[in-house]
Symmetry: C2
């Protein structure tokens, strides 16, 4: 592993330099959207489109939007079929369709964009040197449902919920449907009639939900014990809902255990698609810089980037709107990066109250379903939300691995690609693959593996995890605060079973961070989890993740488990301070802080473990060279 301490240049500075460099070749030309009909109190979309079209015609370098509140409706928006990895593909109404632009900046000057209904605020595609700054994105009402428990009734296995003022609902067939257009719930059991387009709107049922604690606006401690389901398997009946008075709904037999009074129910729903409206979609771009942008909500991810080289986020925040009683920001990850390359830099950002992770950096594994000819493999994109993903192009290199142990056995250069549909594509390689190919193999793209820096950020109060890291580039996680999520904090995975997310890490430094209170949902969630899904038992054939340093961090947690690791080589856990949580009850003394399976060359040294009881290290028979020394509070 190379030393990385020299690498002090900030990503923002790097990008600034790139933009200045490219800007030098071109006169600055500024367009003000106010000159093209943009005004407050009307649908801003046609005027913004006009202004953007003028920018293209006149080869402008910057679009300025005067500070103000702008309402963006889908009605007249430009539409396009957009594939959005890890969100839902489909026809999208787009507010800012940025395509094929070079050296272009949007300066919102503090503009607040309020979205209505299913809409995609930013689609940035095929662009180079793009900056978005000084604006915020919100929706008039959230895609989720929110309500506060005001009473519970043991005798009828029910509780009463006061519905949040921004949420519309109807009781349909004795169940709660929340929906975009009040009074428009579809009675599916009615014969024949199909809705006219103007009546369309999303609607959702009660499935897929989480409890929040209103006092701290974080996932309720052990809230997962009370999750609602529309069908109660234990009782073999559907739940039912009844409106007690306008805005108050009683839920019967909906949860295995009644929630606490004051808890807030957040429902995402499983009736219609629920990741159709991410806030910012970045695909096939080079050098995207986003600064001083707040995403308050999205029906999907805050920012999703695919196959893009160099992205820097500075003061990019996924945060609750100030003064709002909403409990949740985006309904999926704050940020997500699939098969990017170059540098992804995230600096001075706040990610809070998402219904999924803060950041996930990964590639995808496609499954090889056939050998088309000696040089050509036929592969399927496997996960439903990877369909249509542009997996590889001529010139890329793909690495083949067997699914049984996820061990790679070849790297081959791509000569050409033909994608027939969103699932199946054929990849012709530069050299003969028929002799090499092994049964049940997956392919990952090793040409698109970014370096990652996450610095000076705060992640808190979200469902799921803080960061998921699956890139073989250089990774530096430094000076951040990660706290109060429902699951573990840092995850290093990789699987060819369900998510089909690649790749193994080779170079990760995590230092000077503050970790606090994970597993609020109810688990005993670790600070770091290495959980590649390898389908083998017995002596390791290889080590999936390698070269990870966890150094000089403070962990202040209530869970006993700090590290769970499978198939990791060269892991250093050094100089860290581990404190018991002051906020939540400590987990029972049922687990060692460290657990290793199929690992090699692990060093745990110079740590200060300050819990009342000492802890230890669980090591399986196949792990080798586990050094535990010079620690306080950790015995071997």
């Amino acid at each position: 592993m190379k030393p990385k301490f020299q690498k002090v240049t900030y990503v923002a500075i790097l990008f600034g330099a790139m933009l200045i460099a490219s800007g030098c070749t071109k006169q600055e030309k500024i367009i003000n959207a106010a000159n093209y009909g943009l005004k407050q109190g009307a649908d801003a979309v046609p005027a913004l489109r006009k202004a953007l079209e003028v920018c293209v015609e006149e080869n402008a370098t910057k679009l300025i939007i005067p500070k103000g509140k702008y309402d963006c409706y889908p009605d007249m928006a430009t539409e396009k079929y957009v594939r959005v990895s890890n969100n839902d593909n489909g026809m999208k109404r787009i507010v800012f369709p940025l395509e094929g632009l070079k050296n272009f900046e949007i300066d919102g000057q503090g503009a607040r964009f309020i979205m209505y209904s299913q809409i995609l605020p930013f689609n940035i595609e095929g662009c180079e040197n793009i900056t978005i700054r000084n604006l915020s994105i919100d929706w008039n009402k959230p895609f989720y449902f929110q309500g506060t428990v005001i009473a519970t009734h043991e005798s009828t296995n029910s509780f009463d919920l006061k519905v949040f003022e921004e949420c519309d609902y109807e009781i349909v067939a004795n169940e709660l449907i929340f929906l975009e257009k009040p009074g428009k719930a579809i009675r599916t059991w009615k014969q024949w009639a199909m809705p006219v387009k103007k009546d369309f709107g999303w609607e959702q049922n009660i499935d897929w939900n989480i409890w929040y604690d209103s006092k701290i606006k974080a996932p309720a401690y052990k809230g997962n014990e009370c999750l609602l389901r529309s069908f109660n398997e234990k009782l073999n009946i559907r739940y039912h809902a009844k409106e007690i008075e306008p805005g108050v709904v009683r839920f019967f037999n909906a949860a295995p255990k009644l929630p606490q009074k004051g808890w807030v129910l957040i429902i995402k729903g499983k009736k219609d698609l629920q990741r159709v409206s991410p806030a910012i979609h970045i695909f096939d771009d080079k050098n995207v810089h986003i600064e001083n942008v707040d995403v308050h909500h999205a029906g999907g991810m805050g920012l999703i980037a695919e196959r893009t080289e160099n992205i820097s986020l500075v003061d990019f925040n996924v945060v609750l709107p100030s003064g709002s009683d909403r409990m949740v920001s985006t309904t999926a990850d704050a940020t997500h990066f699939v098969n990017c390359k170059g540098m992804i830099g995230i600096d001075s950002c706040m990610f809070e109250n998402m219904l999924d992770d803060a950041s996930n950096f990964h590639g995808i594994y496609t499954y090889i379903i056939k050998l088309v000819d000696d040089y050509t493999i036929g592969v399927n994109r496997m996960h439903g939300q990877q369909t249509g993903f542009q997996f590889a192009e001529a010139g890329d290199s793909v690495r083949l691995s067997e699914t049984k142990d996820m061990k790679s056995y070849a790297v081959l250069k791509v000569a050409s690609v033909r994608s027939f549909n969103e699932e199946y594509m054929e990849i012709t390689l530069d050299e003969k693959v028929s002799d090499i190919l092994r049964p049940s193999s997956v392919a990952e793209n090793v040409s698109w593996q970014p370096d990652v820096q996450v610095k000076n950020c705060t992640v808190r109060r979200n469902r799921a995890r803080s960061l998921l890291i699956s890139t073989q580039g250089e990774v530096l996680i430094e000076n951040n605060t990660f706290k109060t999520c429902s699951g573990q904090s840092l995850q290093f995975a990789g699987d060819a079973t369900f998510w089909y997310e690649s790749s193994p890490v080779r170079d990760v430094i995590i230092r000077n961070n503050h970790f606090k209170d994970f597993g609020l949902g109810g688990g005993n969630s670790p600070v770091i989890a290495f959980i590649p899904e390898l389908k083998f038992d017995g002596k390791p054939t290889h080590y999936y993740h390698q070269n990870v340093i966890f150094n000089n961090n403070t962990c202040e947690v209530f869970g006993r488990r700090l590290v769970i690791a499978r198939s990791v080589k060269n892991f250093v856990f050094k100089g860290n301070t581990i404190l018991p949580s002051k906020t939540y009850p400590l987990a029972p003394l049922n687990q060692d802080a460290f657990s290793f399976r199929d690992c090699k060359d692990v060093t745990i040294e110079d740590n200060h473990y300050q819990w009342p009881e000492k802890t230890s290290v669980t090591v399986d028979n196949f792990s080798k060279d586990i050094k535990v020394e010079e620690n306080i509070g950790i015995v071997k």
Copy 2:
């Protein structure tokens, strides 16, 4: 009205001549698909694509497919986002993607194509002089659910259904789900998990259904009294289903009245989209000829044509597969034509057992939502299944009407069109529209109004109606047999309220046809219904439909009502024979055979009404000049 009796040339001959004429310019070049890997027992799709690609490369005139049974899977099929009017838009896997071809024929030589899952057999787009002949299209299993009542239980308000062998189902949350992939029903109430792509498949609930009479394979007489609904509004509970033994399911509280033993339940479902897989989609073509083609099933329409000039169907049949116990062919209309022009000729075709009409010829009304500038109107496509329809192009003429009475007030030429999304488009006109435009107006395209000839065809045993005619071209309906559908036989509508289907007719002859037994679902359905939806009361401002001759037909029906008409001028009902049904009980004597509202210049003469009781004519106060003379059995 012009006389039409000279027009004896058959459409097929016309088209044959056109094709021969165009073929003269080009050497015949024939490709045989068998030379490109096509074989029985394997997925035929890659070989068919290869053969088609060779046809394009070598500028072939004909693709031959050797007689045989070919299985077509979506897995590796070419995919494209296809907008299909009156069906469901979306990404479609296509078996025969015919695009931009000229002077090309596919001769199946008796080939049987068996489709699997959601797939589009033919997409014909931007082509000219195309012939498809000598093949059949079916699916391995239907998109609908079928089962036979083997017992009823009054005491528990339940009945037992023996499930048809081709249908897979699961009992999920006490309800029946039928689905494409056995054992894969999605338990939506489960938390988090989303399916991996390879597990995808459609699934449906019990809503949207019809009863068939297995003895005659037609809609059960008065079957509509027993339609199932997943939510029983009367009892305020959901129905529930229970598997009694494998393949036998008991339904509790599902219908307002128990069905008869032996009746067959057909369910289309309302859970997933159910018009995703029509058999043949024709868009933006010129001269399409289809001959000796059988469509046995489709998840949508048998043939849907949009904005195409000249279509001839000869011996094109939508029929049950021979020897099958299926009750239903296509799950929607057999054929459907939206804003076509030139001649649509349908000769010697059989359309049976569809879940919707045999043929519908119409245009669409778009709703004018704003005046963009003096020359430009902003319009919305209104019905959900018209989204994305290519409504107009430069050079077309659009006609404006007020929705209050559907009276047209201007015809304007289109200078340019810009479609922003599937709903909204802006149309710039050749002349100033700002002075003309009236509030609440719709626009229809009068440049795309086909002539229609339907001859020597049989329509029977379907849900809904025989023909829906809404074109201002010349229409001739001659020598056909129309019988045993659930609703009325011929419909002339037009509305700007829900379906938004145009246009008024101006020249229709219906002669020498045999009409038999309509309204099997339970209504007292007429042979002809003129039912434009006009939102005015009082003295007519105009007459929506005009110039219709119904001459020398035989009507042998059980319903009392023969003609219901609103806003028709110059309707001649002459020389027809009307007999009581010999098959079904005659309707009670509660209606006159004729009913006119807001009509003018109606002639009922020389008809022979042979029912036991004489009948009469109901005329409202606003109808004028209704002549009833020289009839037997009809009194004024």
